[in-house]
Each structure stands twice: as structure tokens, then as C-alpha cells.
Symmetry: C2
Subunit: 337 residues, 2 copies
């Protein structure tokens, strides 16, 4: 084993450059003017010694960790990795470390995950978990940690919100189906009380009402935002109903994939016997056969936006006002409708 030299600290740099530690710190932070000659000298030494400030010491002093946590309800849902990539796009350049935390039940309760990241004193949290309760959010607020939520109801005291226009998106999908002449349009939604479910249902209802269609509660079922949920929902709809729907609108793409599984098993032709639509436009939507009509959810751009808003807040901007940013959706018509 070769002996590894002790890591240089700021004092070592100061000594080697013949200045005080204060001066080195000022060169690093730029908080006080430093003459060009001194700066050059110090920077040369830093380079030569390979000095990197100790982040623990720094955050102990400044009370900032330069790290941000993303909390997602299911990291294996491809929507969230895309969000994470968007966050990273912005955060990496600013020197922030991004921690990604999966709060997927049953193994990991959201509250436990929230406590975990709060205990680590992250500077900010991007909360993408639709399972979050007011209590969870209040706990974050109480700790003083900056918060940006991805989706969810907008309330000033609960921080900023970034979301796609789900009401509009779902409205467009349903209108599209109505236009194509589908008569009995069913809806397989995600978790009943989750915010995205409610908001997507709202879009469905609005489009139906606008078209003068009656809303049949028999045609609306709530399951979970997963492939298994889609199987369950489709089974309920297609096996119990006396008169079958001729189109099924799904709360997200994963559900739609599950619905497709069922139609395949039942030997139904899509979109002949039944039209199916998804939501989010994850890659799988274009892979299945028939390819899914869906609504593109700009995941990466949402991630970028969350990051920028968090940085604004960390910089002290918008200190006394919460913001809600809504990103445009885009209807993608493919073969399934």
C-alpha cells in the first residue's frame, strides 16, 4: 500500500502561497476584492496541490449543504428518471448534489423517507410523490427546507408547484375520442384520492360535459397507476358491464399497457372493438402494439423547471410569494384510437 498524502486544507494552500487563509477563502468565494497578482498566485497553488474545500466544514459554517433531494413515488416508473435527468441538467452546473429517493410502498413509507432527507439537512426538496399528505408537507415546511412540488394542489404556504396541464391534456384526449365517434368512453384512473387522479378525472368530465355527453359512474373506475392497476380496471369494466365501453381512457400509460394486456387476452381488436389512450408518453407508449395515443408529459422539462425554481428560492428570490408553473401538454395520436 502506497502512502497517500494527507489532503491539503486551506491552511496548507495559504502557507504555500504565502498569504493568509482569509485571502484564500476570498479568492474562492469572491466576497471581497483580491488583487490580480494574489489571486493568480493562490489559484496556481490550489491547482498544484489539488485542493478541494471540505464540503462538511463549509456547510457547517454556512448552514448550506448544496444538495437537493428528489422524492418520487416509484422510481421504476420511467417518468421519474426523466424528471431526475432534467433536475440534473440544471443542478450539476451549480455544484449541487442530487439525491434520488424512492418512496415506493410497501417497503418505504413516505414519511420515513421525508424524515431521512430532512435529517440530512438538504437545502431543498423536490417532492413528486402524489401520496404526500398535508402533514408531510407541513413537516418539511417546519424544517425550513425549501420545497418545490411536482404536481399537487397549489397552496401558498406549501411552496411552489410545477405541473403539466393535466386537465387540458385529458380534455384533449377525450375530445379526440368524441370527435372520432366513440360513444361509451370509460375511464380507468389511478389511486382515487391522489391529486393527479382527481385532476385528470376533471379533464375527462369537462370534455364530456362540453360535448353534451352524460357521465356514467359505471364507466369510471379507480385502481393504481401501474400496469397491474390497468389489468384490474379493464377486467372490471369489460367483464362486468352489461354494455361494454367502446373506448377506455387511462390515467397513465402504465395503466393503458395493463388494459392492453386484457384486450389481448379477450381477443378484442384495438382500436376496432375498443380504443385505448394513455397519459405521459413514456417510451413504452410507442413500443406496444398498437402504439398508444397519449398525451406527452414533458418530464425532463418539468425537472429542469423544478430545479430552476428551487435555485431561485435558495437564492432568496421570490421569498414572499409562491409560484405555480404550468407546462403545456401535447396530444400524441397513434394507432390505438
Amino acid at each position: 500500500m502506497t502512502h497517500v498524502d494527507r489532503r491539503p486544507d486551506i491552511a496548507a494552500v495559504a502557507a504555500a502561497a504565502g498569504v493568509s487563509v482569509t485571502t484564500v477563502s476570498h479568492v474562492l468565494s469572491g466576497r471581497r476584492p483580491v488583487s490580480d497578482a494574489t489571486r493568480a498566485k493562490v489559484e496556481a497553488v490550489i491547482e498544484r496541490l489539488g485542493y478541494r474545500p471540505n464540503p462538511s466544514a463549509r456547510s457547517l459554517r454556512t448552514d448550506r449543504s448544496e444538495s437537493v433531494a428528489l422524492i418520487v413515488p416509484d422510481i421504476t416508473n420511467p417518468f421519474y428518471p426523466a424528471v431526475a435527468a432534467g433536475l440534473q441538467d440544471v443542478l450539476l452546473g451549480q455544484g449541487y448534489l442530487l439525491s434520488v429517493n424512492d418512496a415506493a410502498l410497501p417497503s418505504r413509507a413516505l414519511r420515513e423517507v421525508v424524515r431521512h432527507v430532512l435529517a440530512r439537512r438538504v437545502d431543498g426538496i423536490v417532492l413528486a410523490s402524489y401520496g404526500a399528505t398535508d402533514d408531510d408537507i407541513a413537516e418539511i415546511a417546519r424544517s425550513g427546507t425549501k420545497l418545490v412540488r411536482l404536481g399537487g394542489r397549489f397552496r401558498a404556504e406549501f411552496g411552489d408547484v410545477v405541473r403539466a396541464d393535466d386537465v387540458g391534456g385529458m380534455h384533449d384526449v377525450v375530445s379526440h375520442l368524441i370527435e372520432r365517434g366513440y360513444a361509451r368512453i370509460a375511464f380507468v384512473n389511478g389511486e382515487r384520492d391522489a391529486h393527479p387522479s382527481r385532476i385528470r378525472l376533471e379533464g375527462y368530465e369537462r370534455a364530456m360535459r362540453e360535448a353534451g355527453r352524460e357521465i356514467d359512474p359505471e364507466l369510471i373506475v379507480s385502481t393504481t397507476f401501474t400496469r397491474a392497476g390497468g389489468v384490474e380496471g379493464a377486467t372490471t369494466l369489460l367483464e362486468r358491464s352489461t354494455s361494454r365501453p367502446d373506448a377506455i381512457v387511462c390515467g397513465n400509460d402504465l395503466i393503458a399497457v395493463g388494459v392492453l394486456d386484457v384486450t389481448r387476452r379477450l381477443g378484442l381488436s384495438v382500436p376496432g372493438d375498443l380504443a385505448i389512450t394513455g397519459y405521459d408518453d413514456i417510451e413504452a407508449a410507442s413500443l406496444v402494439t398498437p402504439a398508444l395515443t397519449t398525451v406527452h408529459n414533458p418530464a425532463r422539462e418539468i425537472g429542469r423547471t423544478c430545479a430552476r425554481m428551487l435555485l431561485d428560492r435558495l437564492a432568496g428570490d421570490y421569498d414572499d410569494v409562491a409560484r405555480e408553473v404550468v407546462l403545456a401538454h401535447r396530444l400524441i395520436v397513434r394507432e390505438s384510437s
Copy 2:
């Protein structure tokens, strides 16, 4: 604005409990015996005050950050989120924070990402990037940061390696095709110099040789581990060859999906005109039509294993010996072959 009380520090706890800070620290760490009475008193105060040790102060003193970084080549490849979930399964319970870092080109050079996490002084790194050079790995080793690599060539001085048995997996796929009677079996691989490419090619070659088949260099093309790579590879193979292959083995599922895109465009029937196989068994493999024959890569279990090995190292176990752990693969035969 309501006034938020200052966070209690260890001194506040000591004062409220009528003991010294040393004692409180010992209650927390258990490094010295503390009487039951004292312990109970201190724990009650901690609870009442909601005291949580400041992680920066702690790691400044202990030189441990209790955090681990995962570096992946493409976070939108669903294999990696599954690995991340596995890591989290193990790390969360131990109080470690997991940071996930996407080193996807062209925006983020791997070296830059490595520097970034090293600057943050993480305790350990799980490096899943097949683009890593010896230099990258040496830089990590030099910093003293514990390293576990996901895949890659095993070398004692470069830390532990966890990998699936890719040679065996690819061997099984190819043998399966040979058994089914396919005559001209082509191979669309990922990046030519990437380790997983080499190793998977090895499995292909071994199976061919075992069956007494000749290896035709014309039938082997290197692209990238992406859907676009599959399109490119299939186009090359199917449009240029005088005599077409009747089976295409792909370096991963994403490539296979791209190959499928091409067969669809050319109107080829799968597996009638052409058999196609993938590798990894990501969800998409079962979604496409026809569903892909592939090899199951136990991503989540790989993640868990990486985490455990890293924890071993951080605990000082296996200090003077590197380990390579190989996880079993499983051939999944579906419709495409």
C-alpha cells in the same frame, strides 16, 4: 412570519438533561457505556426537543459523510433505476443518502461527474458506467473513496465488481437460437470498446464455436446500446448483406426494440423471417409485439448486492481483498424467437 426556534444543538440537550455533551454523544453513539438512568433521561430530552445531530458537524469530525453516489451512463435506461431501487433498499435502513448521477453524453462527461461526486466527499461510489476508463477509476482510487463497480473487468486494485453472468446469458440465448434451427445468426452489439459489449460478444462466440458454427464477421456490427443503435445496426445488416441473417441477437433490449422498428418498416415477419432477441429483460421487452426473447438481468438484486459490498468495505471488512460477485442469469423465451 412566525419565529422559528433555533435548532437545538448537542449542548442544549446536555443542558436540559443536566449532563455533559460527552455523555449525550455517548448515548448517541454507544461507544462508551452509559448508565440506564442517564440514557433514559437523555433520550427523553432528545425526543422532547426534537434534536437531530448536524450531519455536517459530524462528518467534519469523523471524515465520513454517510452518503453514497451511483453513477450511471443513462438514467433513462430502465435498467438503472431498478439498480437504484435495489441500492436504496439496503442503504436507507443504514442512514445513507443515495445520490444518483447521470453521466449521459454529450451533456455530461463522465470525468466531470466523477469529479463532482469526489468533491462532495461521498464515502463510496457505485460506478455503473461502462464508459469509465482506467484513468477515471484510478482517480477514484487515489481519492480513497470506496468503489464498487457494476460490471467491468475485475482487477484487484480497482475495487469490487458485481455483475451478471453475461457470457453465460448470451451463450444461452445463442444456443437457444441454434437449437431452434436458425442458420445465420447475426449480432448487433453496443459500443465496440465497452466492456459489456466485449463480454456479450464472447458469449455469442462461445456458443457458436461450441455448436461448430463458423463466425462470420459480416454478421457482427457494433453500434450503441440504444434504440437508435438498433435501427442503425439492423439497417446495416438487412440492407447491405447479400444473404440476410435469419436471426439477430442484440446486445440489449433497447437495441432489439430498434431492430424491431426496422423489421416493421421492411415488412418482415418476426420470428418467421427473422428471430430477434434482447438482453436485460426491461419492461419494454414484454411490451413490444412480438414480445422479446431475452435474458433476465436481476437489476434490483444487483443493486442490493452492490450496496452490501460497499457497506462491507466501509465497515473495514475485506480491507485487503477485492471481490467479484457474479449473479445468475435466466433465459426468458417469448414470441420473438
